[in-house]
């Protein structure tokens, strides 16, 4: 008589054996009384377990209805989506902060330049204005080649200086305003869509 195969009887009962393992267990059961008895006891156990009744549970419809009242509003978002959602709400704050920074920088820069032009700043404070004065490449070049001179050159230099200061400011402010308004438009569209979805659900 070969060794008993008690460990294989459970998988055999559960239909988890295939091929050679299955054939081996089948053959063994025809010749081993101990394993036959063990297998029968496993069958009886399974039948006894199956016989144990279930209580009268609520129907799937009732269960789902009761559960619907207990469910939180939305399922939790994954971390990546949470980060995106956080970034989305952070965007307008960031835009306003950038706008304030640039405006403050320009204001301070203008004040320093103005103070310098009035001669208020002493020698130790001149580093504040070094590089802050607008450079006038085109009007200077036109003056060098003799196209402009005297008052015309001064007006051209002033115009170039003003352009160099104001155009970047305008571009920055318009860009920031566009981004902010775009965010507002997207927020409004999402808000409207959610409202429509809730109306359809109800």
């Amino acid at each position: 008589m070969s060794d008993h195969i008690l460990e294989q009887l459970g998988p055999y009962l559960d239909g988890e054996l295939h091929g050679k393992s299955l054939q081996k267990v089948k053959l063994h059961l025809t010749e081993c009384i101990t394993c036959q008895e063990e297998y029968t006891s496993l069958e009886n156990l399974s039948a006894t377990l199956q016989e144990a009744p279930l209580p009268d549970f609520p129907s799937p419809e009732d269960f789902a209805s009761d559960l619907a009242l207990l469910l939180p509003r939305k399922p939790a978002l994954p971390i990546r989506e949470k980060a995106l959602e956080f970034g989305w709400w952070l965007a307008p704050i960031g835009l306003i902060a950038i706008w304030m920074f640039i405006s403050t920088t320009n204001l301070v820069s203008g004040a320093i330049t103005f103070a310098n032009s009035l001669g208020v700043l002493n020698d130790t404070s001149t580093w504040l204005v070094s590089g802050s004065a607008p450079e006038t490449y085109w009007s200077a070049a036109l003056g060098q080649f003799g196209f402009l001179s005297g008052n015309n050159l001064q007006i051209a230099e002033m115009a170039e200086a003003i352009t160099r200061i104001t155009i970047p400011q305008i571009v920055w402010q318009v860009s920031l305003a566009t981004l902010y308004l775009s965010w507002m438009a997207i927020w409004w569209a999402r808000h409207e869509r959610q409202g429509l979805g809730q109306a359809l659900e109800s």
Partner: protein, 191 residues
């Protein structure tokens, strides 16, 4: 079968995007299975209903973390098994089920067979509930939900070899606990 799986995948996707109706459909599909699992784990109807509700709430909250590598049912059953174990730990003691909670197998039972049936059910229920958590979960998923070893391994996240050994262990313990009852069952079968 394949169309059912596709439909379920679509429902899961919709539910992951916050669609409560889609989730409701998933709940209707799996509620009886989950109730069955948690009842066999807890051994008490009211605890089982609470555990099943808790399992579905947890599943809703964790839905974004579900990856369709495993079946939705396996994922849900894992939550259900944990919910049942947690519920039992909270309760500390096993509450006996009321007799009227049971469906009686015999449609017209006499007083004696009714009593015997109830006693048998009570014996089996107690025997299962007193199994160690890990073995009980494997046994319940196999015997009452008919999951394959592979599915059980996916559900509980253990190797198939461990499923086999836990199942063998659970059956060995149950045979000892229900020795007398199994003996009388076998006799009745032969009569």
């Amino acid at each position: 079968m394949i169309s059912t799986q596709i439909n379920e995948t679509a429902l899961v996707n919709q539910a992951q995007n916050g669609d409560r109706n889609a989730y409701g459909e998933l709940v209707r599909t799996h509620s009886q299975g989950v109730l069955n699992v948690v009842y066999r784990m807890c051994g008490n109807k009211h605890l089982a209903e609470d555990a099943a509700q808790e399992a579905f709430i947890q599943a809703w909250l964790k839905l974004s973390s579900y990856q369709p590598r495993a079946s939705f049912r396996s994922w849900l059953y894992r939550i259900a098994v944990n919910s049942a174990i947690d519920m039992l730990r909270k309760e500390k003691r096993i509450l006996p089920d009321a007799v009227e909670d049971y469906f009686l197998m015999d449609p017209s039972p006499g007083p004696e067979s009714m009593l015997a049936s109830t006693e048998r059910a009570e014996l089996v229920r107690k025997a299962i509930v007193t199994l160690p958590d890990a073995s009980r979960a494997v046994l319940v998923l196999r015997e009452y939900e008919g999951l394959s070893y592979q599915e059980i391994a996916e559900t509980i996240d253990i190797p198939i070899g461990t499923v086999m050994s836990r199942l063998n262990y659970a059956r060995k313990l149950l045979k000892e606990k229900l020795k007398m009852h199994l003996f009388s069952y076998a006799e009745a079968e032969h009569v």
